[in-house]
Subunit: 394 residues, 2 copies
């Protein structure tokens, strides 16, 4: 039986000052003790952490703290969080930050009620059966982790690092407090990178090997058009509330399942997997890594179904070319130009990485586990295909 | 603090044969005894109830049954359901049908753990604090009750009948099994009426008195365009899977909160309230009642913000007229023509009702509780306004 599941239980509170609801929401959930989890300084400096702490205290919620999450969040820090949760009777983890903090919180949540090594869940040895529930105060529009089932963690215990994901419905946050004003201070580069990530979550779902639901295609195109338009506005004026609000909500919708509803396969995801190798080894911003690869992937797989690229180009950019192959080229060019307008690289060298042929082969072998697995389903990629894509993207 | 909440916890299983998952899903939820609740014959004749019963039995789920739900579901039948649930230890209600069966199930769910009269929740005397959880096997694309917080019940214990709603997050079903093939047998009239209801859930949200989120406007327009296109297809070929699938998913999205995300007011809803008086007194199909009123409401309130009507017309019908007032007129005309193409009435007489001025005043006084309350927020309506709208819609 082939069906699609849609499950988005996260209770979203969206608008200015919603971070102040943290204590009340946790109290209503009858939480006893929270782990307040955050990044490397900006949430402290901006005063946001102070607001959240005050909200917890006012509502009588006890809490411990763990800061220091970096982009491409590390296993070693998550292990510290698991230790704190196990020893201090934590029954809820509140992530204050972007996707890295959320993914780290999910890892801590999985590891706390588990007797074994939490990395088991990321390298596919085990499937988690429990989690310490997660909530979010979101400060970055990008990964959609505030509603998604996904957590991606980088193991800094091996060289080169491994970056693996664990996707389960347990990982969907219980609530997300989403105040677009908290993203006013996000830099131009991180804004562009975040928007690329948002777009890629929908693009990865759009290209798949099954039948399509017209409503989902239309919503996907609405989302992509809106992100393109509002990223440009946010880059011009970082404090444009409407632009930041559109990006924030688009980030959640792009990865909560809405943009693959009715697509039985769930998407392709080859670009994400190829990028994970780049960011595991070179620690680049995820969105920038995605834009460096996408157009090379697209040109490599285009022949599989140029009509699908043409449809996307018509819906998003109004491309009217009737020859599917030419329309597909125009579509790929348009996305490439868009990423460039966001200030993103569209080749790996734009990340400051000199990807020799040997490096391309190393990345391809890492992505395919030395040929043991393929990537994608729109077109299935083997090691040689991955190598050719990395080479084209140099 | 002005914010929007988005909360859609319903776990959706979407695709052919998903009704067969009923027993397994209930077993996973550790349900002990179900009330199987349904309508007046079609689910039995089609064999659907047999499939669902077999699925429950195979999974060891005990169940009682209550059929007989009619369109505009009645309080008296819900009372019977409450009695069954209270005396037979029911801990889950499985609605097999459309919005009427779901709304009746929600009413039974509210009433079972409550010592007082369940009607208290509908006439606003009390707010429910508990519910016996609900699941759905959906057979009609219309009300969106399978993901919404809404239950609308008609009291057949007073003359003329009262039709009131109870909206709480408790009322959102735990799961919904959505097989578009189950709607192949829906008549042309019910298909048109259902699609009108779907469109109205988005239209009622689009017209409101606050700022707009561009992404939500774009998604709303995508949904409306898709419903218009696919209703025509389903009317031509009732067994067109893609058309039925688009309508079914649009029905859920149109009323689960997605199409008012970022709109703080939550929508206008005056048309729904005016229509509830029509269907309470004359027992008409809800969607048909809505199309009979909408264009008269729209022409009456248009002057409040013709630019909003113009924006909708541009997004949905591609209307390029630059004069906002003229564009608003063209937009209203286009929706009116669309409802007619669905086979729906656009005046009350098209429902077979001779609405004299006295009848219009009776309906207006009923809707305003004799002047005690106003309707709407895009433009606030008083009794005289409601009377004028009913008169224009005669």
């Amino acid at each position: 039986m082939a069906y699609t599941e849609y499950f988005t239980p996260t209770h979203v509170y969206f608008g200015p000052e919603t971070e102040k609801l943290a204590g009340k929401v946790l109290k209503d959930l009858k939480v006893r003790k929270v782990l307040l989890h955050y990044g490397s300084g900006s949430a402290e400096k901006s005063g946001l952490l102070g607001v959240v702490r005050a909200s917890l205290t006012e509502n009588g919620i006890d809490f411990a703290e763990l800061g220091g999450v970096k982009p491409n969040p590390r296993l070693s820090l998550a292990r510290k969080g698991i230790e704190i949760c196990k020893t201090q009777g934590i029954d809820f983890i509140l992530a204050v930050g972007g996707g890295s903090v959320l993914d780290s919180a999910k890892c801590i949540g999985y590891g706390t009620p588990y007797d074994g090594d939490v990395w088991d869940f990321y390298c596919g040895k085990k499937v988690p059966e429990k989690i310490v529930p997660i909530g979010a105060v979101l400060t970055l529009s990008a990964t959609g982790s505030e509603m998604s089932n996904s957590s991606v963690i980088t193991s800094d215990e091996v060289t080169p690092n491994d970056k693996f994901g664990c996707n389960t419905n347990l990982g969907r946050p219980v609530f997300a407090l989403m105040n677009p004003e908290l993203t006013y201070s996000v830099s131009k580069y991180q804004t562009g990178s975040g928007s690329t990530d948002i777009m890629m979550h929908t693009l990865e779902r759009f290209f798949h090997n099954g039948p399509n639901l017209e409503l989902t295609d239309e919503i996907a195109a609405s989302l992509l058009r809106t992100v393109i338009e509002n990223t440009k506005r946010a880059l011009e004026n970082p404090c444009d509330y409407d632009a930041r609000a559109n990006l924030m909500w688009a980030g959640s919708l792009s990865h909560n399942g809405l943009t693959h509803m009715g697509y039985v396969s769930g998407g392709d995801w080859a670009c994400h997997r190829l990028e994970h190798e780049l960011s595991a080894v070179y620690d680049v911003a995820h969105g920038a890594g995605l834009s460096a690869i996408w157009s090379s992937w697209a040109r490599y797989v285009k022949h599989t179904c140029p009509e699908r690229f043409a449809r996307l180009g018509r819906l998003v950019f109004g491309i009217r070319e009737t020859d599917a192959d030419k329309a597909a080229d125009l579509t790929i060019d348009s996305f490439e130009r868009t990423f460039q307008e966001f200030g993103m690289p569209v080749r790996i060298r734009g990340l400051g990485i000199d990807a020799s042929d040997d490096v391309c082969m190393m990345l391809a072998e890492k992505a395919s586990l030395k040929g043991a697995k393929t990537l994608g389903n729109f077109q299935i990629l083997r090691t040689e295909d991955m190598y050719q894509i990395f080479k084209a993207a140099k």
